[in-house]
């Protein structure tokens, strides 16, 4: 997608989001007391100002992109060139295909959020050992003698530092009683 079309789409998304903010999210999400004498002191004043600024920028982006598309201005004439199209780090030879990359990002996100969910039952040390193993395997690293020391040492050393030096109580989940 060229940059003008992406700007148009981005502008439209912003306009839609700001309309939703102004009509649904702010009225539902901000509790404004009824006895506010000065409008600018109302708790909802600032969110409305921010939403209005976003809407204005969204409208300008959309109009500008629409105008450029209408006049058929060469995309190259605009300085807004997508980084993804020019960045040598993201060309086909170095990156996975879009489908492969999406699958890997999805797997990475599943691991990250599973880590968060595991922290309460398993605790920081066991949860962190598992997440290091999972993420390292996802990179293609298979050497156990490389993975095991890092996966075991890093969480334990961090636990010892935070507990004994920084005096932060780090949860150990089901290992709490076993260790203490």
């Amino acid at each position: 997608m060229n940059s003008v079309r992406s700007d148009l789409l981005f502008g439209l998304v912003i306009i839609t989001a700001t309309v939703l903010m102004a009509t649904v999210v702010i009225p539902l999400g901000v509790d404004s007391p009824g006895n506010v004498d000065i409008l600018a002191l109302s708790p909802s004043f600032w969110p409305y100002i921010i939403t209005s600024m976003m809407a204005l920028i969204g409208v300008i982006m959309t109009l500008r992109a629409g105008l450029l598309l209408r006049t058929g201005t060469d995309v190259a004439a605009t300085p807004h060139v997508e980084e993804a199209e020019t960045d040598p780090d993201t060309d086909g030879s170095r990156d996975y295909s879009f489908a492969q990359a999406s699958r890997r990002v999805a797997m990475c996100l599943v691991i990250l959020f599973a880590y968060y969910l595991a922290l309460e039952p398993l605790g920081f040390v066991a949860g962190s050992v598992l997440v290091i193993v999972a993420l390292t395997l996802l990179t293609g690293e298979r050497r156990a003698h490389v993975i095991a020391p890092v996966a075991l040492l890093a969480p334990i050393l961090l636990y010892l530092f935070f507990t004994h030096v920084a005096v932060v109580r780090i949860p150990l989940g089901l290992f709490e009683e076993w260790i203490t």
């Binding site: 993804a84 962190s128 920084a166």
Partner: protein, 501 residues
């Protein structure tokens, strides 16, 4: 006078003081370098150890932790894209790109030199200008704060690069995120949705870590193994004399900005770092390099943020007013030892004041020594392969995010911000404006509303004195310059393809 200085020297020149200050700076650098461990936490944790010490020894230990901690935040910002402290967030912008190019040691060196220089300048200001700066700082009320923050926000145009509109949208999103929590004036909820975790708003550290470190980790998995390799190949070359000369103007400017803003209670290091960065970019011959690994960007950010360190002691020592949470803890240390900072301390315990000044000057030297040693060891992190480093960074981030409030919810915030940051990365929406607006947003809104409360709704309060007017003029000038530069770049971009064609 000479007698007082001699008495101060006698108080200061003890082995305990030298060791305490050195230990303080070392502890501070380590704490600052760990994401989630704030300088405030470091100072608060060290406070109980000072109870049995001589007042000067105890206060120097705390000051050492404070100064070391402010510098330490830059280490992880440069090496693993994770600011150890909120003020170091600005250092990320150019520090990490330099580390990715294999110039981590050069970046760390410049961060250290700028930090030491600004720290030293700040100490000189504390000793020589305490009275003058304290009087100036007292003139800052909510309207002056508001105009100052508005001026600081003009940097957003500068850090948005080629994506100004997207940068402005990102800034609005940052401002919006900063509104979450209980309302300052009425105490009612804003975007809390009956979730008590949201009542206090989002903490800075989990948002910062999420926005910078997590997208790097996620993005790593979209690249083939052959394209990943090392996080950065560490060049042995540090910063050269030419680098220091190149950055010197920015260091001086950043130090002055840090000193002036540091003397004003309640501002802190982050706005000083951003303002210094913004001014360095505006005055640079190559502003387009900022954000892509410009060494001057690191110097500006670090000098701005470290310039604050000595200056925050000005309102504390001269007026007895703590400028931030850290100086409030240091005020507590004074009071535990039966001392009350303020004009009376200068009359009754001037020897203690001189002893503290001497220790403060020595802290800059210690900072240099500890920084140099730590760079030698810590910079080896950059040699680790990404396959191993990034999972460990994630775990470090999780421990750090949790440590801020002892709350697992902060880890959820960090991961969610990571997803937001990754989407921003992939859609070319710059993260820096989001971050700046998120950090400055609460100050902006609070000072705006407090001003209107004072004036009972009259907008004229924002022009009430020459400080406000000066900041408005600077804001307009900054915007005019930015628009002119943008139009010039746009024109040049239009001419280039037509010439090529």
């Amino acid at each position: 006078m000479i007698e007082n200085i001699a008495a101060g020297f006698e108080l200061f020149a003890t082995t305990d003081n030298f060791l305490a200050l050195f230990a303080g700076v070392s502890i501070g650098v380590i704490i600052g370098a760990i994401p989630g461990m704030t300088v405030t936490m470091g100072v608060a944790l060290t406070l109980p150890f000072t109870f049995t010490m001589h007042p000067v020894t105890g206060i120097l230990l705390l000051l050492g932790v404070y100064k070391g901690g402010i510098y330490g935040g830059s280490i992880t910002a440069i090496l693993i894209n994770t600011p150890g402290t909120p003020p170091a967030a600005c250092t990320v912008l150019d520090g990490y790109p330099l580390a990715k190019r294999g110039e981590a040691k050069r970046a760390l060196d410049i961060a250290l030199y700028s930090s030491c220089f600004a720290d030293f300048m700040s100490n000189l200001a504390l000793i020589g200008l305490a009275g003058f700066l304290a009087a100036f700082a007292l003139r800052f009320g909510p309207p002056e704060f508001f105009t100052l923050i508005v001026f600081s926000l003009t940097i957003i145009a500068g850090v948005s690069g080629d994506h100004l509109a997207k940068g402005l949208i990102a800034a609005c999103l940052g401002l919006a995120l900063a509104t979450v929590g209980l309302d300052l004036i009425y105490g009612t909820g804003r975007f809390v949705f009956d979730n008590y975790e949201l009542m206090g708003g989002f903490s800075f550290i989990p948002v910062l870590i999420g926005l910078f470190a997590i997208p790097t980790i996620i993005d790593h998995y979209t690249r083939k193994p052959s394209a990943r390799g090392h996080s950065s190949t560490l060049s042995k070359a540090g910063a050269s004399w030419a680098d220091v000369k190149h950055c010197f103007k920015s260091m001086v400017r950043g130090s002055i900005i840090g000193v002036v803003l540091g003397a004003i209670p309640g501002i802190g290091g982050a706005p000083a770092a951003f303002l210094s960065y913004s001014e360095a970019k505006r005055n640079s011959k190559t502003p387009e390099n900022f954000g892509k690994g410009e060494i001057e960007g690191i110097a500006a950010a670090e000098s701005g943020n470290n310039g604050v360190a000595g200056a925050t002691m000005i309102p504390l020592l001269a007026l007895g007013v703590p400028g931030d949470v850290i100086t409030a803890v240091i005020l507590g240390a004074f009071m535990i030892h039966g001392l009350r900072p303020g004009p009376l301390l200068f009359q009754e315990n001037i020897d203690i004041i001189y002893a503290i000044f001497m220790g403060i000057m020595l802290s800059s030297v210690y900072l240099f020594i500890v920084g140099k040693v730590s760079i030698r060891f810590i910079s080896k992190i950059a040699d680790l392969p990404d396959n191993i480093l990034l999972p460990v960074v994630l775990v470090l981030c999780a421990y750090g995010a949790y440590a801020v409030n002892n709350n697992l919810f902060d880890i959820l915030v960090m991961l969610s911000m990571g997803v937001v940051g990754f989407v921003m990365l992939r859609t070319s929406v710059p993260a820096a404006p989001f971050l700046i607006a998120f950090v400055l947003g609460p100050l902006l809104e609070d000072s705006f509303r407090q001003s209107l409360q004072l004036s009972e709704g009259t907008l004229g309060i924002f022009l009430r004195n020459e400080i406000c007017i000066a900041f408005w003029i600077l804001t307009v000038l900054a915007l005019v310059l930015t628009i002119r530069r943008s139009l010039r770049d746009h024109k040049a971009a239009k001419i280039t393809p037509s010439l090529d064609g």
